[in-house]
């Protein structure tokens, strides 16, 4: 489809997943992601797929665990409180090397929080969330078009590396409408080769087992070390980011998703006043664009992290820079959103008034 369609973020996400080959969805109602299961409930039967409204988030992720074990492209979606419930299953999927796709349309937290968009689940998404040593491939869209086209990338990485993948969006991206162009190539799951590990109709071959445990001494360590090799490969090859006006920038904003959109508006105000501001927008949150940040620090000496959380992604920026440049933070927790004007004032404060850096302020 070349032409643009006006779509809601959550619906674009669901349609994007279907076009990327998703044929099984299980989910549970929670605002602000309800349009995803609603869309899937009628859309999947059209393409010969199956939809189940699960009795809980816990059950939904375990349906995905079962479906993924058969090699099918599957999906579950939720919002923050529901994602907490899914963490048990996420850990098992990671431990069983299953290529699942999960979307978190974040809302305010902790607890029941509220239903407005927020980015408070960054740590949960990028640090594992569930128990044990594992990683999740996490992508952060910043437009309805990316909601539509990133699921394909998630499936690609998930199957290539046998790792859980996630779209980390927020309620604003889920609820807003924008023109969408589906640019990712459409996948016909019937034309995909069956993975060598998939459960199914075995026609006399050796039995296959999907599991996350090994009680024999030393064996689990070997399994996890092998997985870490894949994680290293992902860190080296799968990093995605976008930059704006970085060529002559003296101060670099680092922001993802909705925060990155607001940052563009704030950056424009600053540029009008002659302040040389650029934007680095991580599209993959894990792997995080560490190497690019280090490279930028050779000439950019001030970084400003903008996030709709208390200061979560800023830790990745601090870890990447390791003291190579000043780090500032504009944090908006509790489902609050910075305004472009507020962002401009923050930049002005850093550049002209020498605001105290975040780590030092801590």
């Amino acid at each position: 489809m070349a032409e643009k369609t006006l779509m809601k973020g959550n619906e674009a996400l669901a349609e994007g997943a279907v076009r990327a080959g998703c044929r099984f969805f299980a989910g549970y109602p929670i605002t602000p992601q309800n349009e995803v299961p609603e869309y899937m409930s009628w859309r999947l039967p059209q393409v010969g797929g199956a939809f189940v409204q699960a009795e809980s988030e816990v059950s939904a992720i375990n349906m995905i665990y079962g479906a993924a074990a058969t090699g099918v492209r599957c999906m579950t979606s939720s919002s923050s409180p529901g994602m907490s419930l899914k963490q048990e299953g996420m850990s098992y999927c990671a431990g069983a090397d299953l290529p699942i796709f999960v979307a978190n349309v974040m809302r305010g937290g902790p607890g029941l929080g509220n239903i407005a968009g927020a980015q408070g689940d960054y740590w949960q998404a990028t640090r594992g969330g569930g128990h044990g040593d594992y990683r999740t491939f996490v992508m952060a869209p910043n437009s309805v078009s990316e909601m539509a086209n990133l699921p394909a990338k998630c499936y690609e990485a998930a199957f290539k590396y046998r790792i859980p993948s996630m779209i980390l969006a927020d309620g604003i991206l889920g609820q807003m409408m924008e023109p969408v162009e589906f640019t990712a190539p459409e996948v016909d799951p019937k034309k995909l080769t069956e993975p060598s590990w998939a459960l199914g109709l075995n026609h006399g071959r050796e039995k296959r087992i999907v599991k996350s445990y090994d009680l024999r001494e030393g064996y689990l360590e070997k399994i996890v070390l092998e997985r870490i090799k894949r994680y290293k490969q992902i860190e080296q090859t799968e990093v995605l980011y976008e930059e704006k006006m970085m060529d002559d920038a003296e101060i670099a904003i680092v922001a993802y998703g909705t925060s990155a959109r607001i940052s563009v508006a704030g950056m424009r105000l600053a540029r009008e006043k002659g302040l040389k501001v650029g934007l680095l927008r991580p599209i993959t949150l894990w792997p995080f664009p560490k190497a690019r940040i280090v490279e930028l620090s050779k000439r950019v000496k001030k970084f400003l992290v903008v996030e709709m959380s208390m200061g979560q992604m800023v830790e990745d920026v601090l870890l990447s820079l390791n003291g190579r440049a000043e780090v500032h933070l504009l944090a908006k927790p509790g489902a609050a959103v910075a305004t472009a004007d507020e962002l401009y004032k923050t930049i002005e404060n850093i550049v002209k008034k020498g605001a105290k850096e975040y780590a030092a302020a801590k």
Partner: protein
């Protein structure tokens, strides 16, 4: 020499880790015999639980998955909906199915998922060392109720078959036992029916099987009749055998 009996093809010829007098070995064998007889091994996918039967994924000679505690019916749902031609069974104990996995089993039944559930009820947590289960009898001793379960402190044992029988989506429910030879034969017939129902696309079937746990019951390991006596005299009073639901179609 004439071969009179052999291990079913659906069970691998490897040593099992189960304790002396445990019922799991019998129930594994019955399930495997049924899989052979119905010729479904090559399209069977089994879901192993958390608990003593966690290693069932090694013993059955068909594709197997092992997942989180209690979530077997959810995993089975995902598998069956993705591979409708597969014969999917969930093998679960009473801590797994009747405690932490209560929601999953009830809602799989409500949806009338076309799956087969083998529910082994031995009234105790085995793998973790004999804690009180939701099925532990009043007065029965466990490591978390050393003086015996009291209704005042821990409520009453749950009767899963009776409860699930109230659900419209359930096709077939039977409670059997493996503590006697006739019980073993009846259990096999029930398991066979529960699989045949799935082959015939009739919906949710479950067999609840009363089973022995001499190790954690504290009955004598050198005298297995102590454990079978416990099933006979105590468990069967609280968990009466019988067919609780047998609907033609749902």
């Amino acid at each position: 020499m004439q071969l009179l009996n052999k291990k079913p093809e659906s069970l691998l010829d490897i040593p099992m880790h189960y304790c002396p007098g445990c019922g799991h070995g019998i129930i594994h064998r019955l399930t495997a015999e049924v899989m052979d007889e119905l010729n479904i091994r090559s399209r069977a996918i089994g879901v192993a639980p958390v608990g003593c039967a966690v290693f069932a994924d090694s013993y059955f000679n068909c594709d197997m998955i092992q997942g989180p505690h209690g979530r077997g019916p959810a995993e089975a749902t995902g598998i069956k909906r993705s591979k409708p031609d597969a014969i999917v069974f969930s093998y679960q104990g009473d801590g797994d199915l009747a405690s932490i996995g209560m929601a999953e089993i009830v809602h799989a039944a409500i949806r009338s998922e076309n799956i087969t559930v083998i529910f082994v009820n031995n009234a105790i947590y085995g793998m973790t060392g004999g804690q009180m289960a939701p099925t532990t009898l009043i007065g029965q001793k466990a490591t978390t109720c050393v003086e015996g379960r009291t209704a005042k402190q821990a409520g009453y044992p749950i009767r899963m078959s009776e409860m699930l029988a109230t659900i419209d989506g359930v096709t077939y429910l039977e409670r059997t036992t493996v503590h006697t030879a006739p019980g073993v034969l009846k259990t096999k017939a029930a398991i066979k029916k529960a699989f045949q129902n799935q082959i015939d696309c009739k919906g949710f079937s479950m067999v609840e099987i009363l089973s022995m746990c001499p190790t954690n019951w504290g009955t004598r390991l050198d005298n297995p009749s102590e454990a079978t006596k416990f099933v006979n005299d105590n468990m069967m009073k609280v968990f009466p055998l019988g067919v609780y639901k047998d609907a033609k179609t749902v």
